[in-house]
């Protein structure tokens, strides 16, 4: 077998040295009830590289890749161009096949990268300190709520109705077990987010209020009003961002007064990958809060010769030291995705991220204008970055998305899929546009959407 270096002679020599007569001697502690008579049945035997490649390609070939169709999906995962050098760097074996940097003298590559990554994230978010990443945006969102309850010693979190419903579900799932009280809501179909309504839900029991920026409908609102209201009641503002590219164009959540800023970093460097692995970003505005943060942190120090170096630090918060008293049970982070993010962000720089954001916004405006001219389509948003909501006449968006896919267009995410059974949302379609979208793609979407809606209306003349 191509991955196993031992030869049969090696095996025999080694067994002899150990004093075992056969390999079975080494499994003698396995009880008889669990001893098998050979390889597990009903699974194939080993295969050549070529055969395996054929098998996997047959699966891959059944999927319509985003790059092969006009593509407008977002809702927490965005398709951006990833420069070729990002993948070259992350495939270097020294990064790819390293472990968590517990032996810092031989892990300075990973550690320095994490220190740079933490700085990039903190600056993008307008915060003092970012951690070395978490699993993804949704789990980071829960960790932020948990941290806010620790900091405030209160048990109640108020979720904005316009928080990604999957994020809200993750928070509610976890809270069932911690006993935290989660007040959530559904988004109202309005051109502007209902900040007053949200603010009215904050009280003296509230640990934190969680607001997505831009929100699930693509709307952008001034978080500073929510921050003021939260702070007035002794609560914290948790801001959630699922599209980091937006922060190249709009003010950072930290700048607007958010105390904990979390989000999904997938847009920068990581790619779509059918939902994972992604990259949870986590930052705090006040450096005093760092000891209540979850996840790994990399810090600067010096070595015995006085040279600058980096180590994982403040690990007394973590499970391998604190066990049941840890700030989180998380062990791993999303190291290689953090590297991809950091390389891409280094390539972009201040100038690149701002230009990238401007280009996304320009094309999104173009798309919104074009779609508004399609009969039966109404633009909901007053403001948006690269994603907006349109209301469709005559047919649930979920079905429209399927019809568009049949026509070779990946036209967006229906709110019907995100909020199954909620009638008020079923005609809403989320449309995301990035620098990868071409003007031909936009035309194609408008044309096909026109045809799909027209066909629906022709079928139901009563409407």
């Amino acid at each position: 077998m191509r991955y196993l270096p031992l030869t049969d002679t090696d095996r025999a020599d080694m067994l002899a040295k150990i004093g075992a007569s056969s390999i079975d001697d080494l499994f003698v502690d396995v009880p008889a009830v669990a001893q098998l008579d050979g390889p597990i049945h009903d699974l194939p035997m080993h295969a050549s590289e070529m055969a395996v490649e054929r098998h996997m390609k047959s699966r891959a070939g059944k999927n319509l890749a985003a790059g092969d169709a006009p593509f407008f999906l977002g809702a927490g995962a965005y398709r951006h161009h990833v420069p070729a050098s990002v993948d070259t760097v992350i495939q270097r074996g020294e990064f790819l096949t390293a472990y968590t940097p517990y032996q810092p003298e031989i892990a300075q590559g990973t550690l320095q990268m994490l220190f740079e990554f933490q700085t990039q994230v903190a600056r993008l978010y307008g915060c003092a300190v970012a951690n070395a990443s978490l699993y993804d945006g949704s789990t980071a969102c829960w960790e932020a709520v948990a941290m806010a309850t620790r900091l405030t010693r209160r048990k109640r979190a108020v979720l904005s109705g316009a928080l990604h419903p999957h994020y809200a579900q993750v928070v509610k799932t976890m809270a069932q077990f911690t006993g935290d009280d989660i007040a959530d809501a559904q988004p109202a179909i309005q051109t502007e987010p209902d900040l007053e309504g949200l603010i009215s839900r904050i009280d003296e029991e509230t640990a934190c209020v969680v607001v997505q920026y831009p929100d699930i409908l693509g709307r952008i609102s001034d978080l500073s009003k929510v921050a003021e209201a939260a702070h007035a009641k002794g609560a914290l503002l948790v801001a959630v961002n699922t599209e980091p590219v937006a922060l190249g164009a709009i003010k950072s959540p930290g700048e607007l007064g958010a105390d904990i800023v979390v989000g999904e970093g997938q847009s920068i460097g990581v790619g779509l990958q059918f939902g994972g692995p992604y990259l949870g970003l986590f930052a705090v505005r006040d450096p005093k809060h760092v000891r209540q943060m979850p996840g790994r942190l990399c810090g600067e120090t010096t070595d015995a010769e006085g040279k600058r170096g980096f180590v994982l630090t403040l690990s007394t918060r973590e499970q391998h030291i604190r066990r049941e008293k840890a700030t989180s049970n998380i062990c791993t982070n999303s190291g290689l995705c953090a590297l991809a993010f950091s390389v891409h962000m280094t390539l972009l720089g201040e100038k690149g991220i701002r230009e990238l954001a401007a280009e996304n916004h320009r094309l999104a405006c173009l798309t919104a204008d074009r779609l508004e001219r399609v009969p039966g389509v109404t633009l909901l948003n007053n403001a948006f970055f690269n994603e907006f909501t349109v209301m469709l006449d005559g047919k649930p968006a979920r079905e429209v998305v399927r019809d568009l896919a049949d026509r070779g267009v990946l036209g967006g995410v229906s709110l019907g899929r995100l909020y199954p059974g909620v009638q008020a949302l079923e005609n809403a379609l989320l449309v995301a546009v990035t620098e990868t979208t071409t003007e031909e793609d936009i035309d194609r979407l408008a044309t096909e959407l026109h045809d799909v809606l027209a066909a629906a209306q022709a079928k139901e003349p009563a409407q």
């Binding site: 270096p5 420069p83 220190f115 791993t332 403001a383």
Partner: protein, 520 residues
């Protein structure tokens, strides 16, 4: 210090009185191939970029609610050649499996086949959106289903949850299912039993799920004390979390008996599958009475560790816990079509405990793991376990005469060999020995874990090491052990030859500097 020291060991390279390298200093601070590299913030510029994008049209209308950024973000850019060089230089300060032996116990640092990388990058897997219309991603859903099927068959369990993002997330998934199952019966049990030798994630997970954690003691031979465990069982115990093979490197022979006793007392059995590599293809945990077990795809199934993630931690479930599994999951219809069950209230969904993550799990890891399984097949995976166990026993027997091996008489070890620091001279510790191994060109073993052995050293060679590689390691390990037993004080300052000498971790924690800032 050129004379041989007390142990007779003499460094090949001269080391000066103060422990520093001799030899001329260089103007750059570089040492030939070992190149110092500043931070990007020290070499980049705000107006430099490595991506060509259209210039911003300041006059273009925006629809950003008046929240346009007015202040600089504070980022810097590099061009592509500068970027590639920066990260290439950083990479050379890292140890990885590609470079050498990485016997980090409990972490299963095996070779990462490159076919896996290639397959994960097929656009049909890498460039598809998690919420794409399901008719357009049938192949991806099929891969998730296929991998789940492999995991069920390899573990002998009927059901699997694919969404957990890493081992600890998988543990949480299992414990939440246990809690949901008890809650569904109106049975508010409060305690989870965890052996002292468990990974820190076990007690942290149980505590997070709202349980009180109680330790189960170990016997002198390094296994769970079955009598004590049975004594503790009762109507308040929700379940046990046991790692098998355990972190002392031993198979829990009485696992079935433990599982039966736990079940009789109305509890569930969580098995930490971190050490599945020792038994994959040879023993099915389902045959031992397990109710839930996570599988670290980044250990047993060779997806890369990436310097600390991403991992992937699918969880297999018994019939009793399967209905409580998290959303979403993939189902195959009788017509052979795949679809995602995403809706809590739908009729295809049982009394799930909810959703653990935004999407369906670590697809990029699934494609790699499935590629690996197909490559090995059922016969190859069995050989994986056998070679991993053989290699570990070879290391155990190659070192037990010189190092304290507390459980060497407890039977063969599984895929890792455990040693302690007994009889080291001159105040030397396990840490010193680990750092001396760095100078010998190895990544150290896991140190100070499990906590049940003083100065623990846990060596997991994995099946992808050749006999020659093990022989070289054993020779080196014996030599540093001899130095430690002789009290060779030069070890206290090791490593000498790594990119950095020992780093001051105390200072890093006392006054944390966690982000770069402009010099004042």
């Amino acid at each position: 210090m050129n004379a041989p020291n007390k142990s007779g060991w003499k460094p090949a390279m001269q080391v000066s009185e103060d422990g520093l390298h001799n030899g001329p200093s260089t103007t750059t601070g570089n040492r030939a191939l070992m190149l110092e590299e500043p931070l990007i913030f020290e070499i980049g510029h705000s107006q430099t970029t490595g991506v060509d994008l259209p210039e911003i049209d300041d006059g273009a209308p925006t629809r950003l609610a008046g929240l346009e950024r007015s202040e600089p973000i504070g980022l810097v850019g590099l061009t592509e050649p500068e970027t590639v060089r920066h990260y290439t230089r950083l990479s050379r300060q890292n140890y990885g499996i590609d470079l050498g032996f990485f016997p980090l116990g409990s972490c299963t640092m095996k070779h990462n086949p490159r076919l896996n990388e290639k397959m994960a990058r097929l656009p049909g897997f890498a460039d598809i959106h998690p919420l794409a219309p399901q008719q357009s991603v049938q192949g991806a859903l099929q891969v998730i289903h296929e991998l789940g099927d492999w995991l069920c068959k390899l573990t002998g369990m009927p059901s699997v949850a694919m969404s957990p993002k890493a081992g600890a997330h998988g543990e949480l998934c299992g414990i939440l299912a246990i809690r949901a199952a008890h809650t569904a019966r109106g049975d508010a049990r409060k305690v989870v039993l965890v052996p002292e030798s468990a990974h820190g994630t076990n007690p942290a997970t149980a505590a997070f799920a709202g349980y009180e954690v109680e330790d189960i003691p170990a016997t002198a031979e390094g296994r769970v004390d079955v009598a004590k465990l049975k004594e503790r069982l009762g109507p308040d115990v929700a379940g046990v979390m046991i790692t098998n093979p355990n972190t002392c490197g031993l198979f829990e022979k009485d696992f079935r008996e433990i599982a039966d006793a736990v079940h009789d007392a109305g509890g569930y059995v969580y098995c930490d599958g971190a050490n599945f590599n020792a038994i994959v293809g040879r023993v099915r945990p389902g045959d031992l009475g397990v109710d839930a077990m996570h599988i670290n795809l980044h250990k047993t199934f060779s997806t890369p560790h990436g310097g600390g993630g991403p991992g992937s931690g699918p969880v297999v479930f018994s019939e009793a816990l399967a209905p409580y599994a998290p959303l979403p999951f993939v189902k195959k219809s009788d017509a052979g079509e795949y679809h995602l069950v995403e809706e809590e209230d739908g009729d295809e969904c049982g009394p799930t405990f909810g959703r653990m993550t935004a999407f369906h799990g670590q697809m990029g890891m699934f494609t790699r793991a499935l590629t690996y399984m197909l490559s090995h097949g059922a016969d190859g995976l069995k050989q994986v376990a056998e070679d991993a166990v053989l290699n570990a026993n070879y290391v155990l027997r190659g070192l037990e005469d010189i190092l304290h091996a507390p459980f060497a008489d407890s039977g063969p070890c599984m895929h890792e060999a455990l040693f302690g620091d007994k009889d080291f001279g001159g105040g030397l510790s396990t840490l010193d020995l680990a750092k001396a191994l760095i100078d010998e060109g190895f990544h150290p073993m896991t140190v100070y874990f499990p906590l049940v052995v003083h100065g623990a050293m846990l060596v997991e060679p994995t099946e992808t090491e050749s006999k020659a590689s093990l022989d070289q390691f054993i020779t080196a390990f014996r030599s540093v052990t001899e130095r430690a037993l002789a009290g060779d004080e030069s070890m206290k300052q090791a490593p000498y030859y790594a990119p950095r000498r020992r780093l001051d971790e105390t200072a890093a924690a006392r006054k944390p500097k966690l982000a770069w800032s402009e010099p004042e």
